[in-house]
Point group: C2
Chain length 342, copies 2
C-alpha cells in the first residue's frame, strides 16, 4: 500500500498541503513553484497521472488541477504520525484562550471552546466519567417529611442525585440506617458490576418495608450504569459553515444535524479508545452524513484510568498537522488539569 517512491510522496504531500491551504485544485505549474522548481511541471504532471491511477488524487474535470482523495489524505496523515510538537504560537493561543476556571466540571467545556476557537473547526470534549468508577456512598438527605434527596458518590468524586417523595412520612433515623446499609453493601463495587439482581437481593435480605426503598432501588438500577456516561460538549459547529466546501447550506446541514445527535458524537470519540490519536477521513466514517468530513480525536486519562476523549470535526481538507498536534497537546493537558483534584 505504501508503495510510493520518495518523489511521489513529496508531490502528494505538496499537493495536499497546497489544497489544504487554499481549497482549490492544484495544477502542475503552481505546484512546481511551490516545490521550488526542483522538477519541471511536465514531470510533475506525469507523476500526478500515476498518483491518480493509484487512487491518491482525483480530477474534478479534464482541465482542472488535482484534488486529494480520501486515500490521499489517509496516506498523508499516516506519514505524519511521528509526533510533531505543537507550534509555540499555538501553545500560546491555548494558554490565552483556555481559562481553566475555578470549577473542574466546567473544564471540558472550556477546552472544547478553546479547541473550536483556535482551529476554527467544530470540537467535542467528553466530560470525564470513567467506566471503572467504584461505588462509594449513598446519602439520603431528608428534605421534608415526605421528600428525600438521594445522592450517589463514586470514588473519583462524581456524584448524582435525585429527589424522592412518598406518602408515608420518612424518619431521619430510618433513612440513616438505610443509607448506611446500602453504602456498606455496595461500597467498592465497580458501577458496572452492580446489577439489578445484586440490588434487589440484598434489599430484599434487609427486609425493608418502606415504599421508598423500591423506588430507590429502581432508581439505582436504572441510574448506576449510566452514571459513568460521559456528557459530550460540542462547540463551534457553526465554524463548519466557514469552509468553502460547505458554503451551500444544503451540503452543511446533514453534517450539523449529525453533530446534534449525541450517539454520533459518542461514536466518533469512542473510536479513539486505546489509541494515542485517531483520525477518520471522509468515507471511512460509518455515518454517510460525515463522508465529507474528517475527525481527529484523542483520549485523555484520569487518575490512571481512561477519562474521556476530545476531538475535532472539519472538512477532509483539514489542517491535519496542526490539528493533530493541538488535539494531542490538549489531551495531555486535560489529563493533567483534571488529574489533580483542585
Amino acid at each position: 500500500m505504501l508503495d510510493l517512491d520518495a518523489r511521489k510522496q513529496e508531490i502528494l504531500d505538496a499537493i495536499i498541503e497546497a489544497y489544504i491551504h487554499d481549497a482549490e485544485p492544484v495544477g502542475s505549474e503552481r505546484l512546481a513553484q511551490r516545490i521550488h522548481l526542483r522538477m519541471s511541471p511536465a514531470t510533475i504532471r506525469n507523476e500526478m497521472a500515476t498518483l491518480e491511477e493509484m487512487g491518491y488524487l482525483s480530477h474534478p474535470h479534464t482541465s482542472a488541477g488535482r484534488v486529494p482523495t480520501d486515500r490521499g489524505y489517509r496516506f498523508y496523515v499516516d506519514s505524519l504520525q511521528q509526533n510533531e510538537p505543537l507550534s509555540a504560537q499555538d501553545r500560546n493561543r491555548v494558554r490565552r484562550v483556555l481559562h481553566p476556571g475555578e470549577q473542574r466540571e466546567r473544564l471540558p467545556e472550556e477546552v472544547a471552546r478553546a479547541l473550536a476557537t483556535i482551529t476554527e473547526y467544530a470540537s467535542m470534549v467528553t466530560s470525564p466519567g470513567a467506566e471503572d468508577q467504584v461505588f462509594k456512598h449513598l446519602h439520603l438527605i431528608p428534605l421534608t417529611e415526605h421528600e428525600v434527596l438521594a445522592i450517589i458518590v463514586t470514588d473519583i468524586g462524581v456524584f448524582h442525585g435525585k429527589t424522592f417523595s412518598t406518602q408515608d412520612p420518612l424518619e431521619p433515623d430510618a433513612l440513616d440506617r438505610l443509607s448506611q446499609l446500602v453504602s456498606h453493601r455496595l461500597h467498592g463495587y465497580a458501577l458496572t458490576e452492580i446489577s439489578g439482581e445484586l440490588l434487589s437481593r440484598f434489599l430484599h435480605e434487609a427486609a425493608w418495608q418502606h415504599r421508598i426503598v423500591e423506588e430507590l432501588a429502581a432508581w439505582l438500577r436504572q441510574r448506576l450504569p449510566r452514571l459513568a456516561d460521559r456528557r459530550i460538549h460540542i462547540e463551534g459547529t457553526a465554524n463548519i459553515l466557514k469552509q468553502p466546501e460547505f458554503r451551500d447550506a444544503r451540503s452543511a446541514r446533514p453534517i450539523l444535524s449529525a453533530l446534534e445527535r449525541e450517539e454520533v458524537l459518542s461514536d466518533l470519540l469512542r473510536a479513539t479508545e486505546g489509541r494515542d490519536i485517531w483520525v477518520t477521513i471522509g468515507r471511512e466514517h460509518r455515518y454517510e452524513e460525515l463522508h465529507g468530513t474528517a475527525v481527529v480525536a484523542a483520549a485523555y486519562r484520569l487518575g490512571g484510568h481512561p477519562g474521556g476523549a476530545l476531538g475535532i470535526v472539519g472538512p477532509t481538507r483539514m489542517k491535519y498537522a496542526k490539528v493533530m498536534a493541538l488535539v494531542r497537546y490538549l489531551a495531555v493537558n486535560l489529563t493533567e488539569l483534571l488529574g489533580e483534584p483542585s
Copy 2:
C-alpha cells in the same frame, strides 16, 4: 399605529400568510386568487402601495411582488394574540414525539427536541432554576481523609456539589458540626439574599480554623448566586439551514454562532418574563446577528414560581400562528409535568 381598515388588514394578512407559506414575494395576481377574487388585482395593487408607504410591506425590486417588513409581521402577530388553540394534529404530534422519560432532569431536553422536530426550527428550553429558591442544607460528606464532597440543597430540591481536598486530615465530626452550623445559619435565606458579607461574618463568628472553611466559603460565595442559573438546552439549530433565506452559509453562520453563545439564549428567553408569550421579530432583536430571525418564547412555572422558559428561533418568515400555539401549549404542559415531583 393600528390604523388599518379591515380590507388593508385582510390583504396584509393574506400577503404574510402567502409569503410564510412559499417564501416568495407575492404579487397582486396570485394574491387575488388566494383571496378568492373578492377584489381585483388592481385594487389589491393600490392597497399594497399604501401598505408599503405605511411601512408594512417592501419591494425587493420594481417588478417583484411584495414582502412583509418586520413591522408587517409585528402587526400580524399582534392581531393574532387571541389564544388560538393548538391544532389537534399538532397536539398529537407532541404526544408522539415527547417521551417524558423517567427523569425529570431530562424533561427540558425532551421538550426542546420535540419542539425542534415539530416546528423544524431551532428550539430552546431552560432547565428550571427559580430565582427565589431558598437555601436549605449544606452537606459535607467525607470521601477520604483529605477529600470532602460539599452539597448544597435548596427548597425545591435543586442541588449542587463540589469536592474539596486539603492537606490537613478532616474529621467526620468536625465536618458534621460545620455543616450543621452552616445549614442552620443559612436555612431559609433566598439564594439571592446570601451575600458574601453574610457568609464571612458568621463563619468568622464561628471562629473556625480549618483551611477548608475558607475554601468552602469562597465556593459558596461564588456558587450560590449562580445556583439559580438555568441551563439552557438548544436543539435543532441545523434546521435553520432548511430555510431558503439561509440557503447561503454566509447568511446562516452568524445566526448559528449567536445561538452557540449561552448569554444570547438567556437574553432571548429572559424577554418573556412576566408575559404570557413573547415574540421578537427581526430588527427588534438587540443582537444584530439575529436581525433576520424571529423568536417566539413563553415562560413556564414551577410550583407556583417562575420556573423557566422555552422558545423557538426561526426566520422572520415564521409560522407564527402554529408556533405560538405550540409554544404556549408546551409551556403549560411543562408546568404540569414538572409541577408534580414524580
